[in-house]
Symmetry: C2
């Protein structure tokens, strides 16, 4: 059994400064991509998870996100389970 695939998207909360994103935006602008108005960098985590149902897996993944994968003070997350 190959396990279930899940994607986790981690983004900075609105209002939290993103110096990395700012640097990338400036780089793009100065390299000719002047149409870039805003850019924010987050994380994309692909997880293969064993057993359980989809519902249970999602619950466990959200627990991982809250406790370990993200900093809930400054980051939001979204969990998506692939079919």
């Amino acid at each position: 059994m190959p396990g279930m695939k899940a994607n986790v998207y981690v983004t900075l909360k609105k209002g939290v400064l993103d110096p990395q994103g700012k640097a990338v935006k400036s780089a793009l602008n100065s390299l000719g991509f002047k149409e870039v108005m805003d850019l924010r960098v987050g994380k994309f985590i692909e997880i293969t998870i064993d057993g359980a149902g989809k519902r249970e897996a999602k619950k466990r993944l959200e627990e991982m996100c809250r406790n370990i994968l993200t900093n809930p003070v400054i980051e939001d997350f979204r969990v998506e389970i692939e079919e």
Copy 2:
């Protein structure tokens, strides 16, 4: 005009080692999330882009990805434009 929103997903190519993902997986396993079988960490970039049509925007975004946002030797990317 508020601009068009796009999401870019950057992942390591299959076969490329991911030490960060490995470390996160081990941490999760040892903290009680033993169901995690595999984990890979990528980037998620939210871009607001000005003007042009959807088709043209996508072309430009792919150009940014190939030339600046990713390392095409070890990374894959996917561009998605929000409605």
